[in-house]
Symmetry: C2
Subunit: 377 residues, 2 copies
């Protein structure tokens, strides 16, 4: 049995779901000769580790207790009752303990450091553990979308990093793109609908519904962030686009991406509250987008909120696509990525499916962890 040691940062919905998946896959993984040994769980303030990180592990009971207690967002790991053989570290001590573990286990065991947080703070830890021989698995987009210097550092051992769930949750987008690239099939361009929320919104607009109505419906279905403008700004899609563009070798940063926001600056969070935006602001946007949709429709086109990436541009915004293309036929909240290459020339390689949700995101992270197993001695 090969033990894969892992240290998890982030106990939000994805991190907790990952812990549940790990526990429930014990017998499946045992059949593959694999045991996932959890040697640390960190939230933003604290870290829990077994008393002996070289040989010990956090028990499945403790993982399940973490899941139960952390669903209350105010709870800190350091308050975990019944720690038993485990220990907790707080604040700066938790970071230095993590580095100590990475130094101890990196080269000797290929420790997998998993980032399921949504923080921009973890990049400092991640760029350091790279040199300590650790593998890295990310659901967090931030480390890959900050400076090019950090990006290069994280990618310095490309086989030791996996980040499927940073784009399209568990959808096999990154693995597919990496296969295309490594087989020498040159990518012409990538077009994708990478926001379930905006996919749902554009479907509704195609059906003739006003933007304001569709957004309110999406919010009440739980498809949007608490402030729907966080989706409508396009910034989340832009981060995903940047990750894809960098995989294609583009040396760009967030500020060089052209992002079309679905609301104007005068309706931004600094100017009006969510309630104001939904009751008074957004209705003012209905007419223009309805006109755009109608005009597109006369040319057998539909509007989609997409990223378009090629060797010269990286754009995020509304675009007319042929009704009969894979993107044009997309309905509802599924994500869809079209990859055009020499081999997939007139008809693209298409990956489609649910691109959000803790369950599928955590499944993507788990598949990534198993995918680095050959690097573990």
């Amino acid at each position: 049995m090969k033990a894969i040691p892992l240290l998890l940062m982030g106990c939000g919905g994805v991190g907790r779901q990952l812990l549940r998946h790990i526990a429930s896959c014990r017998s499946l993984h045992a059949k593959q000769g694999i045991h996932l040994r959890v040697v640390g769980i960190a939230d933003s303030r604290s870290l829990v580790v077994p008393s002996n990180v070289s040989t010990g592990e956090l028990s499945d009971e403790l993982l399940s207790e973490v899941c139960r207690l952390k669903s209350d967002s105010g709870f800190s790991l350091s308050d975990l009752p019944g720690l038993g053989e485990s220990r907790a570290y707080l604040g700066a001590e938790s970071t230095s303990k993590m580095m100590e573990i990475a130094a101890l286990l990196g080269k000797s065991t290929g420790l997998v450091v998993v980032d399921c947080s949504a923080s921009s703070e973890t990049v400092n830890i991640l760029t350091q553990v790279v040199d300590l021989g650790c593998c890295i698995v990310l659901a967090n987009k931030k480390p890959l979308t900050s400076s090019l210097e950090s990006y290069d550092k994280l990618m310095s051992f490309p086989r030791r990093i996996r980040h499927e769930s940073t784009v399209g949750a568990g959808l096999p987008v990154i693995v597919s793109l990496n296969r295309v690239i490594s087989s020498g099939d040159p990518v012409n361009h990538i077009t994708g609908s990478l926001s379930g929320t905006l996919g749902y919104v554009m479907s509704g607009i195609e059906d003739g519904k006003p933007l304001s109505e569709v957004v309110k419906a999406a919010k009440s279905l739980g498809y949007t962030e608490p402030d729907p403008r966080d989706d409508l700004s396009g910034m989340d899609v832009a981060r995903k686009a940047l990750i894809l563009a960098r995989l294609l070798g583009r040396r760009i940063t967030m500020d060089s991406i052209e992002v079309e926001s679905l609301y104007p600056p005068e309706m931004g969070p600094d100017v009006m509250s969510v309630e104001e935006f939904l009751s008074k602001g957004i209705v003012l946007l209905d007419k223009k987008i309805q006109e755009r949709a109608a005009s597109a429709s006369t040319f057998a086109m539909v509007l989609r909120y997409v990223c378009v990436i090629d060797q010269n541009k990286c754009k995020v915004g509304i675009r007319e696509v042929p009704k009969s293309s894979p993107l044009g036929r997309l309905r509802g909240s599924d994500n869809l990525v079209e990859i055009y290459t020499r081999c997939y020339n007139t008809e693209p390689l298409v990956i489609q499916g649910a691109g959000a949700g803790n369950d599928t995101t955590a499944a993507g992270v788990l598949a990534d962890i198993l995918d680095v197993q050959d690097l573990i001695p």
Copy 2:
């Protein structure tokens, strides 16, 4: 620079394209710190190796010469002019030399044995090299669709075998399915259109064209085998379905798959020639399938030639699918696979794109070769 030694069986269209890809990707792979060292090329009768397989390799000039000369199907590798430092082995000697190389390089270098043939003979070699520490990459479906005993043997070290191009050419079907499985997301069922030819035919029928006309058009476009009944029998799709079913853990063989042939036994190759079939036979089949399509259409369904795989059945044949489903919206010769799991429940995970062609098939093989690099010491 890490050298990945490889031995290629099969110099048909896919094998030759692979050799071209290898030569043209030299600088791309060098950037990744990888060098593909070709230590043997075999056709059905002979084997060419460098004079020293431990350190030497067949030069890119020789690879290109192999590609040029083998496009004449009558040419044997042993007749290769200007072998230089290389050597040729014939018949039984070529097999024993291959085993000798596998024994020498398997455990020490993780030699990758690549099967791009369409032969059922290679399975004997492949099941032996498994125990010698070799990695295996397959485009050939036959080794995975013969006895369960051979299958189990080939899969005895699951990390050391890749076979993306056995289903859907270079489409990332196997890698995606393996990720789903390893993350513990239970697969409910898989439905797929896995024949470009039959996809094209069913699209034509959907457009109201007679079967006979569409098949003749497909033949003249080069979409079919020389005898189109090789496509219409569904046996190629059945092989792909068996590979997917076995990945899901089904313990079945070819003879337990229900296969619907598009022509009846009395129009088989033993009864009439290709010309007779195309001029007199197939027109007799037009009416029935046209009626089926019309009847499906009244329920907003379309006919597709698909495989359906779940825990209880593995079927290949014509099926009515909703016009609005990914399979129903499929047009032309693209392949499409729908994977339904816990995470992809109401809306499936969909992989779509060109599923045939030497270029994309060889690209899939090359991506597989690079994917086992972490097993090479």
